[in-house]
Amino acid sequence: MAEAEAVAAPASAAGMTADERHWLLRRLHSLSGIIPIGGFLFFHFFENAFVLKGGAMWWKETEFTRNLPFQIAVEAFVLWIPILYHAIYGLVITATAQPNDYPYERNYQYTLQRITGILAFLFIGFHVISTRGLYYAAGIETNYLRMHNFMMNPLILTTYLVGVLACVYHLTNGIFTFTITWGIAVGPRAQTLVNRACVALFIIMAIAGVAILLAFRAPA
């Protein structure tokens, strides 16, 4: 039967049916959240953690990310396009949701995943425009002093704290649902283990994220 299909398929192989496209868009949404967006968030935390060793060290260690070969192409294809796709299609998915008040842990996580997704979208928009956007538009470098001034402003600091925690929650819970979607963690025991590991990862990344943000408050 599989052979017969393989022979019959080429007629439609050029295009994709609406259903095939739907499935592909859903799975690309799931995948793009982990690779490259999730992968980048880990890296972004790691590079910025150098601020814990002082502003000068941070500036020196993050130097290479500002001088990449094909800088704009790398930023566009590794970051902007996947993030825009994940965010916009995520909003399309969120529009099909009808959250309810059934009192189960996973149900709260479901609702929180959608709320943090929207918060993360708004925060990343602000964060990218105010750093890379201003650099490309007006040549303003986001150096230590600029970040320091950001973190000394209570309103911007609050925005960053909320935004970073939303991103961290959305990623760690997303890793858990990724393992369900792709059929990696199938049974209840496997899913409970992965969920706990993801909660632990959330706590670690939340502490690291807040520590990095607060480290920028040290005078230059």
Binding site: W23, N100, Y102, T177, P188, Q191
Partner: protein
């Protein structure tokens, strides 16, 4: 009226198109009463709390032992079978409403046809009828039988869909019950012969990819069916089929 009574606050609706409203009834309290027997009590004497004689409350019920799924309702805000909800511990006034995810026919009676249509779309059956005797089917190992039995207990009651945030009027999602049946059919060696077409339905819009992982389905299922296991397992089957098709077709 005996000293102790139970008040039921029932969401009523004259027809599919008319506006819903709430009406309260008071029935004698008996600890062994359940919501269906209390609705029968109201049917015998359809007088509301204001003492006005009204049209009896329309409801669906059949087996009265939580195996048919017909009397599924939302009681005190939670979906379940009315026949297994005893008066004892119900509290009062208790709210009794029809399920919200299916069209109301009248009062507490809803039309669950979408569930059965979706089972057809997903081809959640094993075709064994033909023009000649196909002979006995392959044997199934006892542990596989035991596992498959868990999914065969589904009574298509609709609890999993009522509690699912992704199953609603603005989404085509078929919901956990259908995915559970697709998984059940793939447990059986004869059923596996039609796995491809079932997975095609699962990979279409409304299929397994539309699950939002709220996992309310497995919590509210009155038959304790491991629905989230079915969802993840069908997710795995579709992943494998997609990769195979990507390189083989």
């Amino acid at each position: 009226m005996p000293e102790k009574t139970q008040v039921l606050r029932i969401k009523r609706q004259e027809s599919a198109k008319s506006e819903p409203y709430y009406e309260e009834f008071e029935v004698p309290y008996l600890p062994h009463h359940n919501v269906v027997s209390m609705l029968m009590e109201i049917r015998r004497n359809p007088v509301n709390r204001q003492g006005k004689r009204v049209a009896p409350v329309v409801f669906n019920a059949n087996c009265l032992e939580e195996v048919c799924g017909a009397c599924t309702m939302v009681i005190n805000g939670r979906v379940r079978q009315a026949c297994s909800q005893l008066a004892n511990g119900l509290g009062g006034p208790a709210t009794v409403e029809p399920m919200t995810k299916f069209p109301v026919v009248r009062d507490l009676w809803v039309d669950r046809a979408k569930m059965f249509d979706d089972l057809k779309k997903a081809r959640a059956w094993i075709p064994i009828d033909g023009t000649y005797d196909l002979g006995p089917g392959p044997r199934v190992a006892p542990d596989v039988q035991e596992f498959a039995y868990l999914f065969s207990r589904c009574m298509t009651c609709g609890c999993c869909l009522e509690a699912c945030p992704q199953f609603n009027s603005h989404s085509k999602f078929m919901g956990a019950s259908v995915i559970g049946q697709v998984y059940l059919m793939s447990q059986h060696p004869t059923g596996k012969m039609n796995l491809t077409e079932r997975l095609d339905a699962m990979m279409a819009e409304g299929g397994v990819a539309d699950c939002g992982n709220a996992q309310n389905c497995v919590e509210v299922c009155p038959k304790d069916i491991p629905l989230t296991t079915a969802i993840a397992a069908v997710g795995r089957q579709t992943t494998i089929k997609w990769l195979r098709d990507l390189f083989m077709k």
